[in-house]
């Protein structure tokens, strides 16, 4: 039996930051990830990291902007932690070796990101996430942390109400292992792949959220799915918000800067949810270009594009065949980020002692109904460290629990059942139906009717999933099986998203209902909490939003 | 020298660049890229002054010139900086110079049809392995193989026109190892030896290369089973044009060319 004090599942920014914090507080830490750490989706983050660095800024400003952008659904005590600890978390990363863009004085160069207009976002060109991930991984090498590379988590092991480890599938050999740990941190990232059009990597399949749900652990605000306003058609590849922060325009087919009609003050810099709805409205009303609007960067000039948006240009040229120096780039909204996730407190604790969650798979909640661009990398730095330290502290005071080998045998039998099934459907066919349905009914505009249909489709897919058939019956690198397992996770997460959304009878942030187009603070200024009972039924509960100093107000752009 | 001999046949008038410097072969570049570009810009400016293109018979020199041209022609700031250093010597690189390897000139300027007419002694029955040399191949955007991918098969085409049969082998586009001969002798010889062995196994009688760096290197691979002679491209052309092996200095090769020549019923 493999045994560690602390096991971190997921090796993106949140997982690595947590693991480093835990290791540096003296416990034996291992990291388990279904891909090599450097392949994690954190590396795809482009724009930057917010924190109140400058003299004219303050953590209160940053906190207020975060709360307003969340449409007042964020917990303000969590936002205070995030924004107060922000600058130090970024300095810490700088001291670890991150290379962020600098001004002439050698200090951080700051980019005005999002609606606030205050230069607050530290960045590394337009590959900030890449730099964050490389830096954290370098520290993991420095500390010589054990990494179980290409191990897919299958399930949690709960013993006597405590989390005692995980079951995992070693992809290179096809072996199931139990990894015992006194504490487990889930840092498995988001689930953008629930949608047909997403900025997310193929690995973003909501594994940790699904595993928590299956074990009766509540998920929070799952209906809050952020769409990003600028993604490339077809591939869904992300074009950073930095493109607009640097001064890019959004144009419709008539060449109008249409944001003037939706957000006269903030224009392209309005909240992501607002810009997405504006774009979709332009397209729906016939002013789009092949289902897209146009992102125009030409007036920035080649020099600025090359120094600040080099990767963006490369992406446009490579994946859309358009050079933004010379032509506007067609863009459209795409699923981008899960504000919701595993319900945790301010130090990452879930409802199960010994089980923690952090990063996109968790919901503390600092993003509420709409995340402020530049806050997700900050979240994983600030809360990664906090959760790592707290989980380490817990692990140190915890006795190890024996895990029955029967769990491994049961899991092996279950996988063998999937592998040996001789007739049935391909997982890819089911995933396509899921993605298209979610994009259509759980996207930027939602209705009760649409969501009910979506839920029916998901229920049907869950039944059909029980008869999924594989081509690959081998043990070594059976990615066919991996994808099938991931689809199972996705279907369970999708159900939680739709059930949560169907119940919320208002429009708030990313959750916009045509049948309830107004925000309703009297009834809905509260978190949706969903959990699954042992029979597999989902139940909804609600938690109040923690308000410390900023009373709800209208968001005006 | 073989090149001087074949130039007349090809209708090329060779004009020596009096005072030109060594291209640096990539070594000078690693010590001081700015200095290397300056020296080569001077050579190119000399050619510009004569209104003539630079002909190279060495893949490495060609690659170095291509690299200098790539930077000078794309980066006006860089060009101005280099020209500043050349100014008091009376040189300016204007941006019109051309540097071309004999291999490219053969196919692109002279033409394979004309080449065929010049063959008086077809190299029939001779199996020839083509080895290009790094600098004439990479980076493709610098040496022009992005725009002209057909350049990757010129040697084979020429070999065929000369009447010989090209032999494919895996090392065709790889490195001969010469630049690390003094730093890692084992690796250097392994590289050369692998290519010679592979070519020999596939039936090659000799190897032809547009890169003279490969020759001293191949000499050192002393496994008696893989004694494959390596000819510089002008030497192979000279044979087909009817020059005697002695005129082409084939008698001076450390690895005997004799067995290969016997196939052509030629003696040294």
């Amino acid at each position: 039996m493999l045994r560690h004090d602390l096991l971190v599942v997921g090796a993106g920014g949140a997982g690595l930051r947590a693991a480093l914090a835990a290791a540096r507080s003296g416990v034996d830490v291992a990291i388990l990830s279904k891909v090599h750490p450097l392949r994690s989706h954190t590396g795809a983050a482009e724009g930057g990291i917010n924190a109140a660095f400058s003299e004219q800024d303050s953590w209160e400003n940053h906190a207020y902007d975060t709360v307003r952008e969340s449409d007042w659904l964020a917990d303000q005590d969590a936002v205070e932690v995030l924004t107060r600890e922000g600058p130090d978390a970024v300095y810490e990363l700088d001291h670890m070796g991150a290379i962020f863009s600098r001004g002439p004085d050698g200090r951080f160069l700051l980019r005005p990101f999002g609606p606030e207009g205050i230069p607050r976002t530290v960045f590394a060109g337009d590959t900030t996430g890449h730099v964050v991930l490389q830096t954290l991984y370098q520290q993991v090498l420095k500390d010589r942390l054990r990494v179980y590379e290409e191990w897919l988590v299958l399930d949690l092991i709960l013993e006597d109400g405590f989390c005692a480890g995980v079951l995992a599938y070693e992809i290179p050999t096809g072996t199931v292992h139990a990894v015992a740990a006194r504490a487990v941190i889930l840092a498995t990232g988001g689930a953008g792949r629930l949608y047909a059009s997403t900025t997310n990597a193929f690995i973003c399949t909501g594994d940790g959220m699904a595993i928590a749900l299956r074990n009766g652990i509540p998920l929070k605000d799952m209906e809050m799915v952020q769409f990003h306003p600028t993604t490339l058609p077809g591939s869904g590849i992300l074009i950073t918000e930095g493109a607009r922060a640097e001064g890019g325009y959004l144009l419709n087919a008539r060449g109008e800067r249409f944001m003037g009609r939706y957000a006269p003050r903030m224009m392209e810099q309005a909240g992501r949810d607002v810009v997405c709805r504006a774009e979709q409205t332009e397209v729906d009303e016939g002013r789009g270009v092949n289902g897209c609007v146009l992102l125009d960067l030409r007036h920035l000039g080649e020099a600025k594009i090359m120094s600040r948006l080099a990767h963006t240009r490369e992406l446009c040229v490579t994946f859309a065949g358009v050079d933004p120096v010379h032509e506007p780039v067609p863009v459209r909204p795409g699923a981008h980020y899960f504000m919701g996730g595993i319900h945790t407190d301010l130090v990452g604790r879930t409802t199960i002692p010994g089980l923690y969650a952090v990063g996109e798979c968790a919901c503390v909640s600092v993003h509420g109904a709409n995340r402020l661009g530049g806050n997700s990398l900050l979240e994983l730095l600030v809360f990664g460290r906090r959760v790592g330290e707290n989980a380490a502290e817990f692990a140190r005071n915890q006795k190890g629990v024996e895990i029955s080998e029967a769990r491994v045998r049961d899991a092996e039998r279950e996988l063998a059942r999937i592998v040996s099934r001789s007739d049935g459907e391909r997982w890819a066919a089911l995933r396509d139906i899921l993605g298209n349905t979610m994009s259509r009914e759980m996207g930027i505009f939602r209705t009760g009717e649409g969501m009910r249909q979506c839920l029916a489709v998901i229920k049907e897919l869950q039944e059909r999933y029980k008869r999924v058939r594989l081509d690959d019956r081998g043990r070594v690198y059976n990615y066919d099986l991996v994808s099938a397992i991931e689809l199972g996770f996705m279907l369970d997460v999708a159900e939680a998203v739709v059930v949560s959304g169907l119940a919320r009878q208002e429009s708030r942030g990313a959750h916009y209902r045509r049948d309830y187009p107004k925000r309703d603070d009297d009834n809905w200024l509260r978190h949706t909490v969903v959990h699954r009972d042992p029979l597999g039924n989902l139940h909804l509960d609600y938690l109040p939003v923690r308000i410390t100093r900023w009373l709800p107000a209208a968001r005006v752009y | 020298m073989a090149m001087e001999k074949i130039a007349g046949k090809l209708g090329l008038e060779l004009v020596g660049l009096e005072g030109a410097a060594c291209t640096g072969a990539g070594v000078l570049q690693e010590r001081d890229p700015g200095l290397a570009d300056t020296l080569n810009a001077r050579t190119l400016a000399m050619a510009e002054r004569l209104g003539l293109p630079v002909l190279t018979i060495c893949s490495t020199c060609q690659g170095v010139f291509s690299g200098t041209l790539y930077r000078l022609n794309r980066d006006p700031v860089w060009r101005a900086r280099i020209n500043e250093k050349l100014a008091d010597l009376g040189y300016t690189y204007k941006g019109t110079a051309r540097a071309a390897h004999l291999l490219w000139v053969l196919v692109e300027d002279i033409g394979l049809d004309r080449l065929r007419e010049l063959v008086v002694r077809p190299l029939r029955g001779l199996k020839v392995a083509a080895f290009y040399g790094c600098y004439i191949l990479r980076p493709s955007w610098v040496v022009g193989t992005d725009e002209k991918p057909e350049r990757l098969k010129y040697l084979e085409k020429v070999v065929r026109v000369l009447g010989a049969e090209p032999v494919e082998f895996p090392g065709e586009y790889k490195c001969c190892g010469f630049p690390i001969l003094t730093t890692n002798r084992r690796n250097s010889l392994m590289m050369a030896g692998t290519h010679l062995t592979d070519a020999r196994r596939r039936g090659a009688d000799l190897m032809v290369t547009p890169c003279p760096l490969y020759q001293p290197e191949a000499v050192k691979y002393r496994d008696p089973n893989v004694r494959l002679p390596v000819l510089h491209l002008p030497q192979l052309l000279g044979l087909a044009f009817g020059f005697s092996p002695k005129e082409l200095r084939l008698d001076r090769h450390v690895v005997s060319v004799l067995p290969a020549l016997e196939r052509l019923s030629l003696k040294v």
Partner: protein, 322 residues
């Protein structure tokens, strides 16, 4: 459009030897090689194994050989890769094949770990309260290396690693090339000394393969050459590589041309024992009258060459290094 993917396959559970399998699929014109591979595994043959994740050239998972050259499948437009309607896909080189297009990258990671790819501040030095001051010029310069995504393409096609897997290889050396220039690191001199040892910077043949295949334009070879420069400037010249370069540079400076006669002995520091293996070759070359002339006349124009040497040898700016 109808395309054929010729894929080298190997399943260690059933195959003794790799084999090629052809898949013909009808895909949209704008597809990448990765899009086509995904179409195959989802619609035609779920046993086909390959790694992929971000599909936007930033995670580095989908490295493979495309028509013989390493690259990212996601960054390669299918149309540009087709030869008569076919593209050939093989696993990366210099690493053991685990299954189909999946390789075991441990040799690559091993070298990365060897160069200690993390900054090591001086233990006694206290860092600033906030961020370190770093000039924007240096950040720009380093960004070329920082953007490496560790996909392994350079290592796959490195001609030195092909014959000597102990060579640290392009990616690891490029990463080291960042750290020796990072003002936060305290081990620059030690690093340069370590990198000047066998299997390090002087083992690169300058074959340009890594520059050619790198999907992020890191130009690993240029980073290695920069390290050589930095090592020499730091006075670490007690090796054949540094001596070879010096001899070459001296020869061009003094005569305008390369003195081949003394290049080899100078590289060995005129060490008679080390030179012994070269002797038979030299003797044979003399017998065959192929040896370079021991008399190395100065070329005309050498004064101008020297003039340029002296001009540029005066303190070079950072930018000149680029």
């Amino acid at each position: 459009m109808l395309v054929t993917l010729r894929v080298r396959r190997f399943n260690p559970e059933t195959d003794l030897e790799p084999r090629f399998q052809e898949y013909t699929v009808d895909v949209p014109e704008h597809f990448t090689v990765l899009d086509a591979l995904i179409t195959i595994r989802e619609r035609i043959d779920g046993t086909l194994a390959f790694r992929y994740s971000c599909r936007m050239a930033i995670c580095g998972a989908c490295g493979m050989r495309i028509n013989g050259l390493a690259g990212l499948a996601c960054k390669t437009a299918l149309r540009s890769a087709l030869n008569d309607g076919t593209v050939t896909l093989e696993p990366m080189g210099n690493m053991p094949v685990a299954k189909d297009l999946v390789v075991n990258m441990e040799p690559f990671w091993h070298h990365l770990r060897t160069v200690r790819p993390y900054i090591e501040p001086h233990p006694a030095r206290i860092g600033p309260q906030n961020e370190y001051r770093i000039s924007p010029e240096l950040v720009d310069e380093l960004s070329e290396v920082v953007r490496c995504i560790m996909c392994g393409a350079c290592f796959s096609d490195c001609t030195v690693d092909e014959i000597d897997i102990n060579f640290l290889g392009p990616a690891a050396l490029a990463r080291a090339g960042w750290l020796v220039r990072d003002p936060r690191d305290s081990r620059a001199a030690d690093r340069l000394r370590e990198l000047s040892k066998p299997h390090g910077i002087w083992d690169c043949t300058r074959c340009f393969f890594c520059v050619q295949v790198c999907p992020k334009d890191v130009k690993p070879m240029e980073q290695i050459l920069r390290l050589r420069r930095l090592a020499v400037e730091a006075g670490i010249t007690d090796n054949n590589g540094a001596r070879h370069t010096q001899a070459f540079v001296d020869s061009v400076k003094e005569t305008g041309w390369l003195d081949e006669f003394t290049l080899v002995p100078k590289s060995w520091g005129w060490n008679p024992v080390a030179l012994l293996p070269e002797l038979p070759t030299a003797v044979r070359m003399l017998v065959r009258k192929r040896a370079p002339s021991p008399v190395h006349p100065r070329q005309p124009g050498v004064d101008e060459v020297r003039n340029l040497f002296e001009k540029t040898e005066r303190k070079r700016s950072v930018k000149d290094d680029a």
